[in-house]
Structure formats: C-alpha cells, structure tokens
Symmetry: D2
Subunit: 336 residues, 4 copies
Amino acid sequence: MIIQFEPDITQDQLTEVEDHLANLNYKSRLVKTQKGQYLIGIGKGAFDIREIGYQPGIKDIHIVSDDYKLVSRKWKVGATCIDLGDDAIIGGDELAIMAGPCSIEGEENIANTIKHLSENGIRYMRGGVFKPRSSPYSFRGMGIEGLKLWYELAKAAGIKIVTEVMQVSQIEEMYDYVDIYQVGARNTQNFNLLEELGKVDKAVMIKRGISGTIDELLYSAEYVFSGGNENLLLCERGIRTYEKASRNTLDLNAVPILKEKSHLPVIVDPSHGIGIRDYVPPMALAAVMAGADGIIYEAHQKPNEAFSDGAQTLDYSQSAKLTHKLRQSFKLVKSW
Amino acid sequence: MIIQFEPDITQDQLTEVEDHLANLNYKSRLVKTQKGQYLIGIGKGAFDIREIGYQPGIKDIHIVSDDYKLVSRKWKVGATCIDLGDDAIIGGDELAIMAGPCSIEGEENIANTIKHLSENGIRYMRGGVFKPRSSPYSFRGMGIEGLKLWYELAKAAGIKIVTEVMQVSQIEEMYDYVDIYQVGARNTQNFNLLEELGKVDKAVMIKRGISGTIDELLYSAEYVFSGGNENLLLCERGIRTYEKASRNTLDLNAVPILKEKSHLPVIVDPSHGIGIRDYVPPMALAAVMAGADGIIYEAHQKPNEAFSDGAQTLDYSQSAKLTHKLRQSFKLVKSW
Amino acid sequence: MIIQFEPDITQDQLTEVEDHLANLNYKSRLVKTQKGQYLIGIGKGAFDIREIGYQPGIKDIHIVSDDYKLVSRKWKVGATCIDLGDDAIIGGDELAIMAGPCSIEGEENIANTIKHLSENGIRYMRGGVFKPRSSPYSFRGMGIEGLKLWYELAKAAGIKIVTEVMQVSQIEEMYDYVDIYQVGARNTQNFNLLEELGKVDKAVMIKRGISGTIDELLYSAEYVFSGGNENLLLCERGIRTYEKASRNTLDLNAVPILKEKSHLPVIVDPSHGIGIRDYVPPMALAAVMAGADGIIYEAHQKPNEAFSDGAQTLDYSQSAKLTHKLRQSFKLVKSW
Amino acid sequence: MIIQFEPDITQDQLTEVEDHLANLNYKSRLVKTQKGQYLIGIGKGAFDIREIGYQPGIKDIHIVSDDYKLVSRKWKVGATCIDLGDDAIIGGDELAIMAGPCSIEGEENIANTIKHLSENGIRYMRGGVFKPRSSPYSFRGMGIEGLKLWYELAKAAGIKIVTEVMQVSQIEEMYDYVDIYQVGARNTQNFNLLEELGKVDKAVMIKRGISGTIDELLYSAEYVFSGGNENLLLCERGIRTYEKASRNTLDLNAVPILKEKSHLPVIVDPSHGIGIRDYVPPMALAAVMAGADGIIYEAHQKPNEAFSDGAQTLDYSQSAKLTHKLRQSFKLVKSW
C-alpha cells in the first residue's frame, strides 16, 4: 500500500496514520522525495482503504500488490518524465538519444563527440570516466579529472552528461559535473550504492544486471526511490544466455514488460546488448518499436582506435544515419 | 566450397570435377534441387579456384568458409524469395503475415479465421493439426482429417497453409494439403525428418530449437537444402533463459544475424516468443524493424476459449490493428 | 490418479471402472505394459478413493498430483530395477557402469573395448552406430551393419549393448541387437519416437534435452511408459548455460531431484556433461555421491584418434582407475 | 609474467627489473602482500626468461599465459592453504565445514549454533549480519552490534567467523570481529570493495556471481591478491539457469575446473546452490567428490522459524549426519 501525503501534512496527522498501520500489523516506511511524501505499508492482512479514509493530509491511497511499490504502475498510471532542464526531458514526446564513446579518452575525443552530437541534435552524451573492468590490469578510465574536462565542454554546448558511478564515495565527487548517474550492470544489486543515490537530486539510470531479472531491476529502482530520489531511468542492456553469436542477448521483451509494470522511462543499450557494430542499428530501431523512451549507444570518430568496446561502436556517419531513422520510427509509434 | 553447375552439365564433366576434388583430399557431395545442381567440397587444404577454372558445365565457384555451405550468404549474396504461387512471395517486397489459431479446432474455427484473414489481406494461415505436447495426456490435434477440411476452405479463399509436420510418415500424408511444412522447435535437430523434407518440393519453415544456437538453426537448414529442397524459411520463436517474466525470451538479435549469415528469409513468431498477449504486438513490430521478412502469430475469435495457447493469442480486433501497423513499419524500413 | 489392476481383471470389471471415471468427468487412459495394467485418470474434481473402493480386479488406487503419473514416485515408492538378464540389473545393489567409444569404429575398436570392459568387470558397452550430427556433412556412424558386428562380439563376452536410436524405422531394425535403446538429447521430445518405444519390450534410456527441464524429461518418460514399456532409465547429460569453461554444464542437481520425483533409475553422463577428459572422473564420482544408479562415459584405446568426441574420452588406464573409485564411492553411499 | 622477489631485494634492484620490462614494452605492476613481493608484467611480445636471469633479489620468474596472473596455478603449482590460527587451516588435510544460520538472529540463536558446531567438531560458523536483500523493505540483518555479540561467544568457543561484507566502509568496522570476510554473489564484481579487501590481512572468500563465469571469479580474486592480500578462498554457490526445479543450479563442474586453473582453495555452498533442504546433503557430498576443500551450509535449530532461507536450511540432526558423511567422503578422496 502507498499513502500519498499532501505537502502540508502535520506531524500529528502523519503519526496517526502510522499508528493506524501499526495496529493493522503493517510495517510502514516513510519516504520523502523532492516531489512528494509517501508512506509505504507492507503487510499481509486484508486492508480496507475506507478504514483510513481521506483524512486531512492524505492525498491518495493505493493498493499495490506488486512487491516493489513506488516504481509500480499500479499506483501511478501516467508515465514519469525526467526533466533535466534546458528542455531536455526524457519519457515524453521526444526520443532520448544518448551517444558517445565507451571511455572518455581526452579533450579531442570529447570535442569531436560533442561536435557530432550537436550536428545531429543529440542532447545526451554518454562516456565512462570510472570504468569497471573484469581484470585489475585494464585501463580504468580518466577519473574525476576527465569528468571535469568533459563537463566544461558539454555544458558550453548544452549537452547533458550520462556517466557511470561505481561507488558511494564518487557520488559527491561527481555531483557537480553529471546530469545522469549511471549504475552499471555489475552494480545493479549494490544496494548501498543505490541507497546513497536515493539521497541526491539528480537523475539515476539503472542498468539491468548481467543476468538480472526484470523484477530485480524494479527492486533496485525501488531502493533509489524509497531512498528519496524519484528521478529514475531503467536500462535494458542485454542479458547472458548460452548464445555465442552475439556478445549478450539484448532482451527487448523487457521493454513492453517494464513499461507495463512501471511508470519509469525505459532506455535501451543496443551496443552492449548485441555487441557487434553492424547489428546495433537494427536493434536500436527495434527497441523504439518495442516501446523504448530512449536509446543509448556507443559512437566514436574512429571506432577501431577506441580505448575500449570498439567492435560495438558506430562511427559518426553510421550514428547520424541511425539518429535519423530512430526519429522516424519514434514518430510512427507516436502516431498510433 | 560450392561449385554451381549449369543445367546441361554432362556426367563426364561432373565426374572430372569430382575427381579433381578427390585429388585435393576434399570430400565432395552432389546436391540436386528443383532450382540447381551443386557440388559441395569439404576440406582443409588451400584451394585455388583457378585450378578448376570455369570449365564447361561450371556456372560459378565459391569459397564458403562457414561450416554450413548452401544456406550461407557467402555464396549467394542476394536474398532468396520463396514463391508459393498466386503472388504469394516471401522474402521480397511484401511482409509475410501469417496468422491463425494455435490448434485447428474445427470447421467454424477455420471459417472464422479465414474470414478474418481475408478481410485484412493476410495471405497465410497458421494452425496445428499435429500438436507436439509435453504430456502424453494432452490434446494432440485434429490430425490429417482436420488438415483436409482446412485445405478445402483455405484453397477456396486463396489462403496458403502453414502447419507443423512431426514425423517422416506425415510428409507424404500431408503433401497435397500444405503450402509450408513447419518444423517445430522440438524437432529442429530431428535430422531424419529434415533429410526427408529435402526430398519434397514444397516450402519448409524451420523453427529455432528451444535452446538452439543460431548456427544450429543454419545447420538444420543445410540438412534440408543439401537434401534437395531450396525452399526454406528460418523462424525465430524465442529461446529459453532464466527470465520468468515472459514465457520465452524472443531473441530479436537473431534476426539481423541470420539475415547477414544466410540468404534465406527470416520469420519471427512473437506469440511463442514472449507468450503474453499484450506484448505480442510491440514485439512483432520490433521484429520488422530488426529486419524480419515475415511475422507469424496466433489469432483466435475468442482467445480465452482457444484449445491451447490462449494466453498468447490475439483477438481479431487486435490482429487487425497489428496488421496495419506491421505494414506501416515494413514500409518505413523499405524506404531506407 | 492411477488405478492398478489385477492381471485377471475381466473386461466387464474394467468397463465399470472406466464408466465410473467418466461419470466424474475424468478422462481415462488404459495402459498395458509387460508388467501390469493401469488406468490413468486425468481430471480436476475432488476424488474420493472410497467411491471406487477396492472392487474385484483392482489391486491398488493412488492419487498422483504430479502432471506425469506412471513415472512418479507418488504411486510407486520403491525404486524400479531394470533387469537385462544375466544378472545385469540396473537400479539395485550395484552401480551400473557403461563405457565405450563415442562412435563404433570397426571390429578392432569393438574388440579392444570389450577386452577393456571385461578386464574391469564392466557389464555395459556404449557406442553410437547412428550418430546425430549438427552438420549434414559429418560422419554419421557405421549404421546397422556396425551394430550387428558389435552384437556378435558383445554377446560372446556377456556385455550388454547401449546405443542410440534416432528414428521410428530403426526400432525394429535394431531390435535383435540392442539391450538398451538410448534416446539422445536432441530427440528427448521426439514424441513419435517415444511412443513407438513404448511398444517394445527392451529397456529405453532417455537423455535429458539439451536445455530440457527435469519435468520435461519425466514427461518424455511418461510417453514411453504410457505407451506400454516400463523398462526406463533417465539420463542427465549436461545442460546448456552461459558458461564456456566446460562444453555443457553437468547438472548434478537433477540427480537427487529425479530420484525423489520418480522411481526410475538415474544414469549420469559426465563425458558429454563437462566435455573435458580430465574433469570426467571427479564429476563421475560426484554423480555417485549425488545418488546416481549408474555412470555412462566415453573410453577409447587412443582417445586422440577417436572418430568423434576424443577430447572428452578417457583412455583405458584412466577408465580402469575411475571404475575402481566409482565402486568404492558407491559402496560408501550404500553403507549409509 | 610474474617475477617473485626475495624479501631483501633493494630498491635499486627492483627498479632495474621494472626498467627492463618497460624496455620490452611490458606494463608492470608491483604487488606487495603479507607473504611476498611480486612484479606482474603484462605484454604481448615474446619474452625470454634468461634475458632477466636470476639476478640478486629475484626468487623466481614464471610465464603465466592466463589473463589472471597471481591466482593462476601456472606459477604456483602447490595448493594454497589458508591458516586462520588455532589449527584452523583451510585447503590442507582437513575438510573445512562451515555451518550456521542464514542471518544471525540474536544471542540464543548464536549460542545454540555454537553448541551444535562444538558438539560436531565444526570449526567455522557462517551467518549474516549485513544482509543484501532484493527488496529495500526486507530484514537486513543485526548489523555490527550483532557481529560483536557473535564474536564474543564464538571466540570463547574457538569458532571462526565467516560473514559477508557489503561495502568498503564496513571493512574496518568489522575487522576486529571477523575471521573470513565473505564477498556475496551480488558483489563479486564490486571492484572497489575487492580492492579495499586487498589491503587487509584477513582471509576473504569470494562467491561466484549469480551468473558469473569461472574466469570472472578468478579475475575478482586477482583484484584482491593484486591489492595485497593472498588469503583467498573461492566459493561456488549456484548459477542462474532456465531450470526451475531448484533455486539455482549448483555448478559442481566449477570445482575441478577452479582447482586446475587456480591454487586457491574452493568452497561449495549447496544451500544456496540447490536451495531445497532435502537435496543439500547429496550435493554437499558430491562437492567433496568433485574436489572441494570445504563446504558451507545453512543450519538452524528450527529451520522453519529462521528469519530467512528456512527452506534450504538443515536442522541440527541433519547437519550432524551430514558432517559425519562429509568426513568419510573426504577421507576416501584423500586415500586416492
């Protein structure tokens, strides 16, 4: 159950509701976000909404049978839009296109990418400065200095920054330079990181775990939301299966399922999903048809010289063509 | 290696080429289909095409490094079209839409379906008369009498029949009443069945195995082609993964990969793929964007009363809407 | 529900029971095997055993809630033993060890193997004469002539033959020369083949599908049993997962689960299961500890020269050592 | 390549070796642990050990072709033993048995468990005080106060503590009260946590990721070792597959593979692996036969009242019997 409160609810009113739930043997948890105040009730007994009634201070009451609550569409039927300022809104009438290199490689690489994005009207730039790597001996990114450099150039061009945060201590360090914190597939169930991201007021995009279920992704989002941050994006990026013809198996089934289960926007990453350059465009287009709110892909001026993931990275010409087709496809979907 | 012969090659000319391969320690296999005559050479040594040269009787010679040969795009760059007569052509300028009930249930069910298909310009009707069922105690279809009944009604309406063949003895029994023999996911590696289907001159659609790899699907197609039948369709129908939110995981990654590896048309079955009615349309549309040549899905006048698979079956209103959107999407893809 | 009949039940008595089930809206199916006569009742309504009561002709009545019936342990608590004659009994007090080459290669290969088996007290010889191969261009076995040759030599040595049957037409062809028909992983759901194997009176060993569930294996066994053949063995042989360090993932979890769900003996194939020679012995030993009734593995005088599967095949010295350890392990298990 | 140094190597000698590698275009990384000093060289060119030669300060030089280096058996053929003091040694002549509740529940629960362990000669107690939970609304453990309480009672009884660490900030907080830090399956690729655990001098047990590959587990161990901590244990705990008959698929194939690839001890967790109480003992015994150095399982005085994971938890009677059988099995293995 989710009880939404009015902004001006008094402490006494709130306590009364909490007591009422306690009497019903419901555990309750108060959640305050930038946008609202909620009381989550967890319990098994039958619950009659009228018993609480719409007392002063209560805005709405919802029965949510899903095990995740705040991210469920059962209480919030409309889609959530993430407003990053400067008319950069995700989940609304425009497809969010996020492109850029796997790793931020230096000033020239940033400048080239920004030029490409600007020429194609792309508002979001992806890139890693903290890179999780299977081997401790691999390149792990330019770190915070790389991010600062990137921020300067991106801000000037009106480009929003999407980049991965790997640990709690980086959240604050990165705060001034990031628009969307990305939680990577290896950290989808790093619950301490998720909880801390609940305390910031910037958007968070959570990637599905390498073999994460759709429900686990929603639970992870619930950690952030119940921690206080509603600005959430979900990202499908391919799962691990027995098939070896592609790097991962991009699971587009997740798109309509997530869209029905949750009110949060869904982004698809075909680059990691299928992992082979030539197949990125058809999978990106398919993702739009499946209902995605945005696409995140890897683009580089010279993919074969990229520091990492070159085999799945588009060059700028491919990226420009894809962008055009993505918008046509999104327009067709919106016309229905 | 594939050596294509001219139709008028003499036995002597042919023997000479076979001997040449034998001298190179290549195993060779002669394949005669309705459309052509090929000699497949399997060997490891270096091979200089000029050694054979374009002698009389040889039309073309191709080095094919893939382990499957005749179904590979390495020797036949253009797409294969399957012509079923009456302007029903798969793999060309029109999206092939195949719809119908999971099981053929009787005359009324057939008639209703045909009416729905005709009203929506759908040329292919799917339905099972021989049903593979996990349990020996489940309904196993109407059998050959059901097929004969279906054929009469379908033929009158100009509708082509797609239906599953489960064993060798059914091939001949079904021959007069079927346009496309479907090999089901449980029989993808029933090699005896595949070989026998190589001997008929009707189209064969092979579904990917329940956990079949993309390469295994191509090998299975190679069985039919090398058996003498070029009229082949490949069908992605969902694979088995850990994810429980959908019945199977429709693997759209397979579409662009199959299209690049092979010249054969690719059909997608979103009904079995995702297994939940509401998600069938977005996945069908996504499949078109990924490059599919056709879509096969389950439709029934009253899905909840269907003999089998009702939960993944569209009603006629949903089917009609989907058909419209599929054609718009296909048109957009073809415009690029 | 399973109703076991006395051997001397009259047709009238039988009809009365069938009518009774029909009145309860239960579908019923009469199964006659070499060992008994059963009526399977499938229905949803509550069922009171006393309503039928133990009329003349009825031996026992069992409620079986599993979807598979005759192979379930719910009606037959004791373990089924398969008696192949000459004191070769599987599922009892001795571990069944089955060894031999992947493919039967010729007389010398057969003779060498039999010598090795005899020296080590191994009673069952495995080997393929009909080989299912992914590619149509691979070696497909010596065929029926190979089997006849094998049979002569094996019979003289008192060795039982386990070999794969691929299609219905081979059942009769092989009948005189085989002790255990093996159904391979690609044919686990070849229901026509299973049904025909229900009609013979020789033992059948069904391998789990390449990505078959445990329940599907039991259903497949139900096909054979309900077809009339109780002489059934189940075989775990590795499933397909994302892990690439082994050929397949031998799923030993299946052993205790199958042993609890079913009364049938369980055999484990570590050769195909893990697919790497050095790891076959530890997995074979682990299988015994997990509760296996038998182990089937590949052994060859010169594994690196084997026609197929050499990389997972033991040489005779490894095989002899393994045999010794398997028996010690089985003895320890039986001591508990 | 791994160059092992003598303890008394001088800075000049060390610099000379580093320069030599740099000249060969090898990247090098110096690793200092409690037990030794190593220089890891990463490069592609051919490398002649004699070029460096055994200069003063160099103890040994090893070519390690694996991508992980320090955890590979290629340089350290003998097995690593982890000595926790008080004759508690893992990886040697005794099987390490670790048992206890899923979550530490309070003083009585701790005392009961310790009594059970002491009576059965079990030296290691498992239990969670920081619990990673999919849902933010679930019980997350007693925290550090629970650990302190546990430590007091365990120390008095000579029992070693194995418990999960979830984030960097807990490492120091837990340090005085823990014998083995466990890294859970959701944190196997939490590289920051792994690196920090490289800086402590207590043992670390890394669980395989939920769908982690065997190589990824070894890479994760490499993070800790190269961070400075050699006291490492690897733990197989079940992977995610399509099979639903068990909670996870305990992958015993990983045991012989890990033992061959690495010199580190391998522990198996059948409780999480198969997830069903009755099947835990056979899988534990199978693990010993497969080569495991230790078994970790869940035991509770009243499994059905356990705070979490009751369905896979043994009661004390089952635990005592299992312990006995495990020791018999281990003795048999050691006798070979």
